[in-house]
């Protein structure tokens, strides 16, 4: 129920011509560590979300999570399996988890995918050289929406 209204709202916002993107420093978490509003107002593309999650240079979520619906080889187990994730979490909670999981799980090893500063020895990607904050976020706002769209399809049934 709640899910439908959220996606409906997102669709409505998406249809507005000038959907302003929510920047990494503007995201607002509610008291449940969730982000209810879409970051872009454009509905996420679940198929692309699946690709991002399995791509090393993008989300690379499979490095730490097992997801049966993805055919990516060598799925890790540093984090819990994401099968059935949307039975456990609302879309807003899933968005909050991908943007910055430390809001939900204090001290988590899961990286924040939409965070650009406040790091110790920030690097320039994987070069080992110094980077300058604000760094580009690991995933763009729309990529986050795509990942969230895919996560909301993960139901146990």
């Amino acid at each position: 129920m709640k899910l439908t209204s959220v996606t409906l709202a997102a669709a409505l916002i998406g249809s507005a011509a000038f959907a302003a993107e929510v920047g990494p420093k503007e995201v607002k978490f509610n008291d449940d560590s969730a982000i209810e509003m879409s970051l872009t107002g454009v509905a996420g593309d679940a198929a692309n979300g699946a690709v991002i999650m399995a791509t090393r240079s993008k989300g690379n979520c499979v490095a730490c999570h097992q997801i049966t619906a993805l055919s990516a080889p060598f799925q890790g187990n540093v984090g819990p399996s994401l099968d059935g994730a949307s039975d456990r979490w609302s879309a807003g909670e899933l968005r909050g988890l991908v943007v910055n999981a430390k809001m939900m799980f204090e001290g988590s090893v899961m990286p924040a995918f939409y965070r650009v500063d406040g790091f110790t020895r920030p690097g320039d990607g994987y070069t080992g050289k110094a980077g300058t904050e604000p760094l580009p976020p690991i995933l763009t706002a729309q990529e986050i929406e795509d990942v969230v769209a895919f996560l909301t399809t993960l139901k146990d049934e």
Binding site: F119, R121, T127
Partner: protein
């Protein structure tokens, strides 16, 4: 909140069967059929707060095929570099007209050295790694060019020196004059770096035994260095490995030979106190 914690716990339990597949194995490392290597030992007292009670060599986390390469020196590609280093050991170089052998006789005079380094050098008033000591000999006693800290010459010489102590227990000192450096190394071990915001502990203390993509996470021990990696087909030094791991957190790395990596080496070495010196080893 409580509800969330519970579901996360439930999810972790579901993931358990995968975890047990990835656990470190119970194989026994015997090199050349006669040298028994201690690859599991009780954690040293200073690790009490880590929750780790058994320290383990990275050997336990590798496949049977990779493990086998280390069980016979004829199969161990790292040994080729030991042979090269023996030539270097005897070669006169530099303005003083000396070789390593001029001062140290046979490489066997290095027995026991690997087990206690990094260690305090009273004269210099600093913690020295083997690499720093080798370069100091080259510079001040031989009048020769120093080697690149994590370069091929250095890795090979470290392999030769390490081999002399193979099977002896790692036993680096952590108190007395080295204590401040050891504390610095410990801080670095727990400092989360880079955009991925991960520390050594995130991977090698909290998650050893788990899979991170295709990699089976070990405890990140250095008792087996230098190590021949099948991935880059050469001998790898401790600092080169540290650099790679820090880079993988999307961080600005420290330099091989830097005071930070020397401190980190001392600390990580001390987490292996009780394991055997195992290098030159083989890893993937």
């Amino acid at each position: 909140m409580k509800f969330k914690a519970l579901t996360a716990a439930a999810a972790l339990i579901v993931a358990m069967p995968v975890m047990s597949l990835a656990d470190p194995d119970d194989d026994q490392l015997v090199i050349n059929g006669d040298l028994e290597i201690t690859t599991k030992a009780a954690a040293p007292a200073h690790m009490e707060e880590t929750g780790i009670d058994t320290i383990m060599s990275g050997w336990h986390f590798r496949s049977d095929e990779t493990q086998a390469l280390e069980m016979d020196d004829f199969d161990n590609p790292g040994m080729i570099f030991v042979d090269k280093a023996i030539d270097t050991w005897n070669a006169v170089e530099g303005s003083a007209g000396k070789s390593c052998a001029s001062c140290h006789d046979d490489p066997s005079s290095m027995k026991g050295v690997r087990a206690v380094y990094p260690k305090w050098n009273e004269e210099a008033g600093e913690v020295r790694t083997i690499a720093a000591q080798v370069n100091d000999c080259r510079k001040t006693r031989m009048g020769a060019e120093t080697w690149k800290y994590d370069g091929d010459d250095m890795a090979a010489m470290e392999a030769l020196i390490t081999l002399q102590s193979r099977g002896m227990p790692v036993n680096v000192a952590i108190d007395g004059p080295v204590q401040a450096v050891w504390e610095q190394g410990k801080d670095l071990y727990y400092t989360r770096t880079g955009q991925l915001d991960l520390s050594c502990a995130s991977c090698h203390e909290q998650n050893y035994g788990n899979m991170i993509r295709a990699d089976h996470l070990s405890q990140g021990q250095i008792n087996a260095f230098p190590t021949y990696r099948l991935k880059n087909a050469k001998l790898n030094t401790v600092h080169a490995r540290f650099k790679g791991c820090v880079r993988d957190t999307r961080a600005e790395t420290y330099k091989p030979g830097s005071s930070e990596f020397v401190a980190l080496e001392l600390y990580v070495a001390s987490r292996g106190n009780g394991l055997s010196v195992e290098g030159p080893s083989v890893r993937n």
